[in-house]
Chain length 496, copies 2
């Protein structure tokens, strides 16, 4: 895996904006060129959506956000970038012109990706001086959450370019899929196009409405396809008899009249109006903004559910998320030792996400413990107990927690936590966390916790090694000067 | 909503077995006829999968499982059923014969559904004496988890039959979608067939392998389709310009050569062997059994994630699950006052879901508090503090919690909680919850909590009304005989 050092994005619409958000949130600086007068507003909205989504998506420490700069010229944007992503409108002449311009101004070793959803890389690279570093990198909306990128080379694209490209995707949480041969629309849009044509006929012929059609998808095979694709699903359907048997059975159906695909529907004004009207009814008053919010929350929830798949190992896009988080933990930015270790350590900065609130918009009880658990995790990384440490067989387990609710955290509220070590010995680590409103500093909740250093395989408490203990004790020593926090040592129901 | 009183299933393969499991787990008795010598084994395996899945799917109280009986004759199976589901192999003559036999033996008011994935109901009902009660009820595999049923009437099917059918699906957790006009393959299989044909070409032409194709689906639009379908997704893509604008833009693409659908691939032996080999590679040694387990866990996780969608209101299949659970709670009497109120109240029965575990398969710290929070909620419903009470402006808020971890809950483990009231006055409710392994009874964790009765608008503690207080005090009085639980009154770090 190799990390992109600087990205340039040419074109900042919904797709370009999605790329920009991906790069920025992975800590990569981005220079943007887009002459559209609204570009900065559109990109800003996509980034805001992405930040909301990431706050819900992962508890892993995001690196400091990359720097975003809008440039006056294409040349200025691409000059020192090592990954340049083109996302201008879908016209061959326009894209070819822009790519040739990028090619002339970029470093010779820069990778140049096109977001085209269907044009052939061979056609795009025709006029380039260094065509070997041009490839299609076709993403899916919303780019900041959907991991797929179809990577397609043209006739002049080098194998080294494809290799270098594929290596650079996991550190931004994406799944590169290399398509072996170039064809128009590659693989994903071929499949979508087939289904789309059939869908248009079904609406045109009044077999069903757009809402019914969408329900058919999302209450059935959509749920399958979020985790396994077409062939793996049919493999299961074939059961013990196997895939070959399933196919042999399926073969004759291809001759059945189960499709109108041999004919192309005329998307005339009447059909456009019909679909538009049905779509309005289906949306039931939800604005695009609201639909986007719901979509992103759902995607976050689905990705997190898949992260728990295959007995916790992670499955598909959830496994990818797990791997991405592993990278984030390993790089672990946010947890440098603070400047003044004699104060409680400010460790977690977050916002109350939509997934965390009840129907009143108040943060749910157990989410407080989630933030406090994240606080303990951040402290542990600070003393060297990171993922590698845990995978090597040792860890700190929480054995006891005492939580007090003193105020309420509400949807969207910026909150942060701080940690004071009350005491520590070879095995025990006794901490006191506080949760604050970031704007006012007001205390919202506290958690006192006892953690034990354990050998996770043996399942018993053991002394922490010197390397960890030294760091724990260094913080504990500087915290020894602090007063015992109000509420520490308290039991439930104790009078003040 | 109307509940089926007795179901009959003719044909017990994977689809028939899925229907049987749906009925049984919703508390409905099922009589089965299937002359296949392996029928009972196959159905048994599907039911076992379904039971595992439901235990993870919902914490709501499932009704006592229906009674399953294998019959010697079709007539015996259908005689007193009010819903008869036919799931025999997909041949018109065979299905028509079976349905005509069912028709002759069934009560005249019985509903008769066919699981056909493509035959026309008009053709199926041709020889029936009471054709008006025949309809297609086309489900998706696995039937016990995927909620969709396409409901299609034939020329002679009555509107009353369609109405009666649609009403009987929500109580078994299913989503009936009425297809307005009958066509071969209805809606879902039309869409699948279109995509499938294109997919076969992509493999045939070596554009990609089956694994790459599946990855393209599950890392991109599959994640979208688990929650929104085609049109709602494109509505968002259209952005502020709207659906009509999106369509107008999309129109010209239909003329592009982005599909080979005008031609039909020959699924000959060479192509079958190629797909078979690639599918073996993709499965990477996972057996069908293992793939089924992974699929079901993922579906459970996705359905639960969607249950939290739209700010906790539930979205799509998750909203449906929420509604289904509401029915279960309403019927299920999980919260009737227990027979012996002098024991701690057993309140929450659940399984550790994939979304709750860390990479080791252990339940995450804050999920313990989630189960304990659910336990408090269940206690509150028992004393009359239900959703309506809370919406009317009063509630109990948790102000303090003390959690001890004594063991570990692991993925899929059946767990339950119990609650003892330690003390209660007008405003305060002091409880002690325990969490147990259901198989062994072993104590895994405890939580001591203080709750305050509040006026939620005024944001301050107020006395609970007599109706609530009387019930709280009745339980508290019978719990007064119980010993103070070990660990109650403990503060963090206290020596035993």
């Amino acid at each position: 895996m190799t990390k992109i050092s600087k990205a340039a994005c040419i074109g900042g619409g919904v797709i370009g904006g999605g790329w920009i958000a991906r790069f920025l949130l992975a800590g990569i600086d981005v220079d943007v060129f887009d002459p559209h007068p609204e570009a900065s507003r559109i990109v800003g909205e996509v980034i805001a959506n992405a930040e909301k989504a990431y706050a819900m998506l992962t508890g892993a420490p995001l690196p400091p956000r990359g720097r975003l700069r809008f440039c006056q010229t294409l040349v200025e944007a691409v000059t020192d970038a090592d990954w340049i992503q083109e996302s201008v409108p879908e016209r061959l002449d326009l894209k070819r012109g822009v790519l040739t311009e990028i090619d002339a101004a970029a470093r010779p070793d820069a990778l140049i990706g096109s977001s085209t959803s269907g044009l052939l890389p061979t056609d795009l690279q025709r006029d380039m001086r260094h065509p070997e570093r041009l490839f299609v990198a076709h993403p899916y909306n919303p780019v900041y959450l959907l991991p797929l990128v179809e990577i397609v080379g043209g006739e002049k694209t080098s194998a080294a370019t494809i290799r270098a490209t594929m290596e650079r995707l996991p550190p931004i949480g994406m799944k590169g899929v290399h398509i072996a041969k170039e064809i128009e629309a590659f693989v994903g849009d071929r499949l979508l196009e087939a289904l789309w044509r059939e869908a248009l006929w079904l609406i045109h012929d009044d077999i069903c409405t757009v809402e019914t059609l969408d329900d058919v998808i999302r209450y059935s095979f959509g749920l399958r396809w979020a985790q396994m694709g077409l062939f793996q699903t049919y493999r299961i359907a074939g059961g013990e008899a196997g895939m070959r048997h399933f196919l042999a059975q399926f073969g004759p159906c291809l001759a059945w009249p189960w499709t109108k695909l041999t004919d192309v529907v005329d998307l005339d004004e009447a059909l456009i109006e019909k679909i538009g009207r049905q779509s309005d009814e289906q949306a039931a008053g939800l604005s695009i903004r609201e639909l986007e919010r719901i979509r992103d929350e759902n995607l976050v929830g689905i990705l997190q559910a898949l992260k728990g798949g295959d007995g916790g190992k992670g499955w598909g896009a959830g496994k990818l998320l797990k791997d991405f988080e592993r990278t984030l933990w390993a790089e672990g930015g946010g947890e440098a030792m603070p400047a003044d270790p004699s104060r409680p350590l400010r460790l977690v900065e977050t916002k109350v996400s939509p997934a965390w609130v009840d129907y009143n918009g108040h943060m749910t009880e157990h989410r407080y413990l989630q933030v406090f658990g994240d606080t303990s995790d951040a402290l542990l990384r600070l003393v060297g107990v990171d993922l590698a440490y845990v995978e090597a067989g040792h860890s700190y387990y929480t054995v006891e927690s005492h939580i007090r609710h003193l105020g309420e955290a509400k949807l969207g509220q910026a909150i942060h936590s701080a940690c004071q070590i009350l005491s520590a010995d070879e095995k025990r680590l006794h901490v006191f966390h506080t949760l604050h409103d970031t704007a006012t500093g007001e205390l919202i909740a506290t958690a006192e916790q006892m953690l034990l250093h354990v050998d996770s395989k043996a399942g018993k408490a053991v002394a922490a090694p010197a390397a960890v203990l030294d760091r724990v004790k260094a913080i504990a020593a500087s915290h020894a000067e602090l007063a015992l926090p109000e509420g520490a040592g308290r039991h439930v129901g104790q009078r003040r």
